[in-house]
Symmetry: C2
Subunit: 206 residues, 2 copies
DNA sequence: TAGATTGTTAATCGATTAACAATC
DNA sequence: TAGATTGTTAATCGATTAACAATC
């Protein structure tokens, strides 16, 4: 797709806006404003308007934004007005929690498969999924055309698994292992590491 | 502690540097350079040097940085040369996974207690911990002087639990619920929401 | 010494904010 | 209409990078 040159930091805020809008919709709200949204999120109203203006004109002067309409526009932008198939690698505590979590579907993602290398886990049921042998990772993922993966494997295996995911055609990896991954251009990686987040906060404590 | 005015974005990179340094140490390495570290992390060498220079002079011209020395300096800066007691709220899949995860100790955190409101979980054992009644949250946390919490409760309860954590003296909250939290100044919040991270990546897919 | 790499400065680049005309 | 809020511009603010003297 031909993107104008939108800063990644703007893209990073859109899912936050979307999440907040969806919550407002659940509360039965119809309309909001950049000011209200900004107050909820701790972001300036000007920044929200600026961010959205990169993609079009979604509001009405005097009244603000229709929540349902704006949500749909943001979903379009983020490519989550469709559902993406997702593979989970690692059927431990975290992989299992991800497999059982039922919040992904309404946000653009459908868990399709979960892998492990531990013979005592392979074949086991987690939620509706039978744990697959990681030896078959490439065939299963490439065969199903899955492009998005969540990795929750021990740190020591993470880079190796990432390489195999890339070889299988995965284009986006959410990595729960506490290591940096090196992937080729064209593959996106995001990291979730609770200790990193905690350390970001302890700086300010005493 | 009296902080010079260090940008939060710099603080946010320090845990990443630290994690990478610790990995190098495990690999038996003694010395590194801003260039090597930058290549591993996808960050420019200049930026790493600039970030570190905010806090002191930790390297040697010509040779680079002693890994053990620099790690210790960063731990000092981030306040994780001590261990912080941590409370987990929510004994579901995620709370349980956090309680069982054994990587926190070596990174500055010691899980001390886990709470739930479900009578069938209260009193249950998770790892070494007995699940405590969330009704006693304030006494337990304030009594133990815990300042750091990880919240893995349903979205609908998240703000309420956060308010109670603040009242109990918690100063840093790592929030796994997919909602924005409003907390008073002086309390830090970080969010972990896998769907947000995935949506940040799907923008670039097609 | 020669080579390498730091710490730092100045220049560049990019992101945020303030302000307001347009307009619902 | 009067009031409110957008989209956008220009100004400000902050972060990143390039470059290099200092020096190990």
């Amino acid at each position: 797709m031909a993107h104008k040159n939108i800063p990644d930091i703007v893209i990073g805020r859109l899912p936050i806006y979307l999440r907040s809008l969806q919550r407002m919709a659940q509360e039965g709200r119809q309309v909001t404003s950049s000011q209200e949204l900004g107050e909820r999120l701790g972001i300036s109203a000007a920044q929200i308007r600026k961010d959205l203006s990169q993609f079009g004109e979604f509001g009405k002067q005097g009244t603000g934004y229709n929540i349902e309409f704006l949500s749909n526009k943001i979903r379009d932008i983020l490519n989550v007005n469709r559902n993406w198939d997702v593979a989970i690698i690692g059927a431990g505590d975290i992989g299992g929690a991800l497999a059982r979590y039922n919040g992904f579907n309404q946000r653009g993602f459908t868990i399709k498969m979960i892998f492990d290398n531990n013979p005592s886990k392979i074949g086991m049921k987690i939620d509706n999924f039978t744990v697959l042998d990681i030896a078959n990772l490439k065939e299963e993922i490439a065969g199903a055309g899955v492009q998005v993966a969540m990795m929750a494997v021990p740190a020591a295996y993470a880079q190796d698994v990432a390489d195999r995911l890339v070889a299988a055609g995965i284009k986006a990896i959410l990595n729960y292992a506490p290591v940096n991954l090196n992937v080729p251009a064209g593959v996106r990686v995001q990291h979730i590491d609770p200790a990193v987040h905690l350390q970001r906060m302890t700086y300010y404590l005493d």
